[in-house]
């Protein structure tokens, strides 16, 4: 292959190159879109489920309670934090939020497997969460010799774990608090 150094030839080559690059980029974009269509299952369900919950919450008037069946990504969690809760994920910024994440801890919601939406209330309470776990958090302190290791106690927020089939969410919205419970 030769490179044309004359003006006409150079324009021709550059045009070909630009078109080829655009073509390749578009092709890569298409492959990525197809990948997203074929794979990426649970995250997509999580986003869709969260969108539905958010819109249903917005649809509720103050003081109203709504019940609706919903399907979430299996083994993922619905969690929520009030705006004054310092443990809330950074994704929530300065707002109260509800999140669907692969785990129930704030850090689980921070990564790519966590999706959050802000809610316009002061506090969010997840009712009848199906577990409350106490587990050590942070670097254990004390210990050494025969001294027992003393760790910080971490109380996990109440969370709703999505089952393999339908769950009925119950949402109560007041001016200050959003309460989310469930039956399954």
């Amino acid at each position: 292959m030769t490179i044309n150094l004359d003006k006409k030839g150079l324009i021709k080559d550059v045009t070909s190159l630009v078109i080829a690059i655009i073509g390749i980029l578009l092709l890569l974009f298409a492959v990525y879109q197809l990948y997203k269509v074929i794979v990426n299952g649970d995250s997509e369900i999580a986003k869709k489920t969260l969108n539905i919950i958010e819109t249903k919450i917005n649809y509720l008037e103050e003081g109203q309670t709504g019940k609706f069946p919903i399907i979430g990504p299996k083994e993922w969690y619905l969690v929520g934090w009030g705006k004054e809760n310092i443990e809330r994920p950074d994704k929530c910024y300065f707002d109260s939020c509800i999140c669907i994440c692969k785990g129930y801890k704030p850090e689980d919601c921070q990564g790519r497997y966590g999706f959050c939406r802000k809610v316009d209330v002061k506090d969010v309470k997840i009712l009848e969460g199906n577990f409350e776990i106490k587990e050590p958090k942070g670097v254990p302190t004390g210990g050494g010799g025969n001294m027992p290791v003393v760790g910080y106690e971490y109380v996990a927020p109440k969370a709703i774990k999505f089952p393999e089939n339908l769950i009925e969410l119950q949402v109560k919205k007041t001016k200050e608090i959003l309460e989310i419970g469930y039956t399954k």
């Binding site: 078109i19 399907i71 393999e164 089939n165």
Partner: protein
């Protein structure tokens, strides 16, 4: 040899370089393809594209090697249809849902009933087709490939949800006759009636199989029966269910002797108007007790809707499924698949479905 001849026919530039003309000739078709894809994925990400994507994922699941299946989720999005009198938007059922197809029913009650029949039958048929007419093992291989044991209860996909707006008169709903519609009308882009398409060409009368007989056979290998499902809402879900059981062939194989099963393992369930044709494919490990919702005044108020629900005939297939050798070892290659309507209520659906797949 042929290859080299063709190679020589390719027009190359003076010194073998690829010319702009050739680049354009290559890029244009690629661009055209991408534009079409763009329409499919973005602009036209509506009914047709979604159904195609669902079919593609079902086929990929059913035919891919087991190792590859873990990476293939079912990309079947639940379609939401609102049947309205023109004023409401089914807020009681579908508020906050995305991409709702609102169908405005005509003022004439008869025409409205016919339209409800058409939409319901189409939704049922589309569901059946998208899921490979029940002959593809959609869930078994996938679960094994993800390290999960095959479920003992049925796995389901909610193909569509049909909500009837609260302002639509119950008289319209009571006038719906889906059986007649399926018998007299042809499937979209086909020469067969709905009934023929669900079973086989030779069949054109009701009933094919009685709910009771089928249920008894299934219960003999699986579990207790569910007697009745009634709704206290105005929304149904068209659900595809599939279950695998090694002895299913034994149980349903002799249904033919009862002159009830259509040939090839495909069948339809008759149901008397007003009585639900709901079937159970077994509910091992699921919540027990028959699902009877509503009651008293509530049930009376929705009796028209229950009649509509009962009209939603179930169609299915029992027999060999397309599967791989690994799953055959685990749970055989026999199974039953059914598409039927259920009230869109978590109790009703969960009683029938151990697991639900697809995109809400």
């Amino acid at each position: 040899m042929n290859f080299w001849m063709k190679r020589s026919e390719i027009e190359l530039g003076k010194k073998g370089e690829i010319t702009s003309e050739q680049t354009v000739k290559f890029v244009l078709p690629v661009l055209a393809f991408l534009i079409v894809l763009g329409f499919l994925v973005y602009l036209g990400f509506k009914e047709a594209a979604q159904e195609d994507i669902c079919k593609l994922s079902v086929l990929s699941r059913g035919t891919s090697p087991e190792a590859a299946q873990a990476a293939i989720p079912l990309k079947c999005t639940t379609k939401k249809i609102c049947l309205s009198d023109g004023k409401g938007k089914c807020e009681d059922s579908l508020a906050g849902e995305e991409k709702i197809e609102i169908v405005n029913l005509p003022k004439d009650e008869d025409k409205s009933a016919r339209l409800i029949e058409e939409i319901s039958a189409k939704a049922m048929y589309n569901c059946w087709q998208m899921m490979g007419e029940g002959k593809i093992d959609i869930f078994g291989n996938y679960l094994i490939s993800r390290g999960v044991k095959v479920k003992e209860g049925p796995t389901c996909v909610i193909c569509s949800r049909i909500a009837i707006d609260k302002d639509v008169s119950l008289d319209v709903i009571k006038n719906v006759n889906i059986h007649r519609f399926m018998k007299e009308n042809k499937v979209p882009n086909g020469d067969l009636t709905y009934i023929q398409a669900f079973t086989d060409k030779s069949v054109n009368t009701y009933p094919y199989i009685s709910k009771k007989t089928f249920q008894e056979k299934i219960d003999s290998v699986i579990d207790k029966k569910i007697t009745e499902v009634s709704a206290n809402g105005r929304e149904i879900a068209l659900i595809f269910m599939q279950i695998k059981a090694p002895d299913i062939e034994k149980a349903v194989g002799n249904l033919g002797q009862d002159v009830l099963l259509a040939s090839g393992g495909a069948f339809m369930i008759s149901s008397i108007k007003g009585v639900s044709g709901v079937l159970s494919l077994g509910k091992i490990g699921l919540k027990s007790a028959p699902v009877i919702l509503g009651g008293g005044v509530a049930l009376a108020a929705f009796s028209g809707f229950n009649a509509y629900l009962g009209q939603m005939t179930a169609a299915g297939y029992c027999g060999a499924l397309t599967t791989t050798s690994e799953i055959k070892k685990e749970s055989g290659d026999e199974g039953c698949s059914i598409v039927q309507a259920l009230p869109y209520d978590f109790r009703s659906v969960n009683t029938m479905c151990a697991e639900i797949e697809g995109i809400p």
